[in-house]
Symmetry: C2
Subunit: 347 residues, 2 copies
Amino acid sequence: MAKATLVSLAESLGVSRQTISNVINAPHRVKPETRLRVEHAIAESGYRPSAAARQLRTRRSMNLGIRMMPVVDGINGSILDRFLHALTEAAQDEGYRLTLFSAATDDDEVRQYEDLLNVADLDGFVLTGTHHGDQRTAWLLDHEIPFASFGRPWSDTEDPFSSRHPWVDVDGGAGTEQATRLLLDQGHTAIGFIGWPAGSGAGDDRRSGWLRALRDGGVLADQLDVEVHDGVPAGARAAEQLIAAGATAVVCASDSLALGALSTFRSRYPAPTTPDVIGFDDTPVAAAVGLSSVAQPIEDAARHIIRVLAHTLSGDAASGRPDKHLLLTPTLAQRFPHPLAGDGWLA
Amino acid sequence: MAKATLVSLAESLGVSRQTISNVINAPHRVKPETRLRVEHAIAESGYRPSAAARQLRTRRSMNLGIRMMPVVDGINGSILDRFLHALTEAAQDEGYRLTLFSAATDDDEVRQYEDLLNVADLDGFVLTGTHHGDQRTAWLLDHEIPFASFGRPWSDTEDPFSSRHPWVDVDGGAGTEQATRLLLDQGHTAIGFIGWPAGSGAGDDRRSGWLRALRDGGVLADQLDVEVHDGVPAGARAAEQLIAAGATAVVCASDSLALGALSTFRSRYPAPTTPDVIGFDDTPVAAAVGLSSVAQPIEDAARHIIRVLAHTLSGDAASGRPDKHLLLTPTLAQRFPHPLAGDGWLA
DNA sequence: AAACGTTATTTGATCGTTCAACTTAGTGAT
DNA sequence: ATCACTAAGTTGAACGATCAAATAACGTTT
């Protein structure tokens, strides 16, 4: 049996192809009676509309693009796994497919946009890792290409909540603030922060949460803020510096940094019964070594990104418009800080 | 300026559309002189052939499908990141794009195949996680759908090297054998193995390497083989059992298991100067806690998968046919076993 | 110069949809 | 009885490429 098409179905039913097309795309235009008859025949024959033909005619592919970032550390890769998975499922539920592409730089990414739009008619893009002066968002806005980003637009002058493009982000500052408060509650009065060099948006945000908590607690931050590039060794060195400055606990901008800090702390201070090093991202590594960490609701973020992107694409003004800008609150995964000397960290 | 098409280009050049099509798809049919003229015009106008139109006519989409497996542990997620990235890049280089889909079960995956083939005209699939009695490969072979798998076909009766479908795999047995030999060389005479329940293909393979090394070394394996489901706590419990049986070192089928085992070992034995617990996959977790681990050349595997898949798709008999079946050898990432008490593990 | 065999290029049909314009029938108001 | 209007369904054209077959150009041979 040859594959069913609109025409073949139409003939066997004694109606026109357009009627069948209408049953699929504009059911209200079709008399309920014939609609049922056609729907039955569709199910019967296993007919599926050809994406290519549709795409050729409508210039929409029902495909969304997402870039695979260069693998940096590997530690954050597991987050990407969860993110991609949730994204794929959400997209699938809305009838979209996800197309991967890789680009080494942002410029390269923009070049890929042009290509993917031209040849593959991608309907929109999901961006990750937004940063100050992001050229990608500028280009996409300029060309009126639909997209949503995981990460708010970082700008010194403009309010992210009035940005022209939809975004979803996790309130990193709230996370580090929560982490710092926990340490304050445990009696720490000299709490350091190990973060990335200023200017990275997400990094600055995480630093600000720490600072806020210290100020609210009436505690000084002098000499307790270290800026380094991400990595385990860098975290270890930074922790030494902080300990020298009197710190008894640290909050870190990433689990990589925290892991390094943890090793330094364990070699200087006896293992405490409450956390003294707190990381960010709640990667499997953190869980494995018993490191407390700020956990991002990454699946929720992915789902919302698709929801808002699908919404702008369908132009569907009704059906509850999803928030165009959404800031999710992370949670703190609290663990025992003494990994390899007990069973506590296995929980 | 409207977007260039074959017709618009043809008109402005005074040739027929087919000639331009030929320049792109069968340059040898075109007189060198006109070919250059057309090529120049193509570059000039930035013309890109429409994927949709092509797909409609040729029924090929230049898209390959890959399934996002359910996120299990998170630890292995970082491997997936590397794998996906390499896959995407290799595919891009060969002119293919990668389409993600998610499926909860293998049955579901097969159902998705049908859909993706019907509506999106996917040209082929990349399979991961092959196992005994895999229905997916059977279905794909039955329907003559091109695909390549990461993971050999596991069967008790048939030789994987005579399988009908291309695959790439990593010789897990060689990895655990190498790991076990290292432990033997260090003087261990009671080396345990923590692996998954028999029947999982890859798991059995890894177990067999351990056994081979023990036999070659003239050492007994009695009571030293534990079968558990993957996970950190399970690894810790298994290690207790092995220590009770006299083991002084263990080889594990995964880093999750090894991580658990490591915690048990550190709480029973003082930290040695050579590895006594060895994991598998060389995940970032292993690197972070100083766990030795068998490292898979995952990027090589990804590249070869695309190469062999692209080859079968193009039917290109010339241009050096890539190996249809390829078994890559892993390497052993050796690290100091005493993570949180020194600087060694930071290297 | 006619006939031939290549090589180079063109033309018509087609892939499976959706859009836009059109027909037909039915309903109610004037 | 006429007209206007809506509802239901039909038809031709178009999207942009490739395939298959037909034609044009051109150098060789006789």
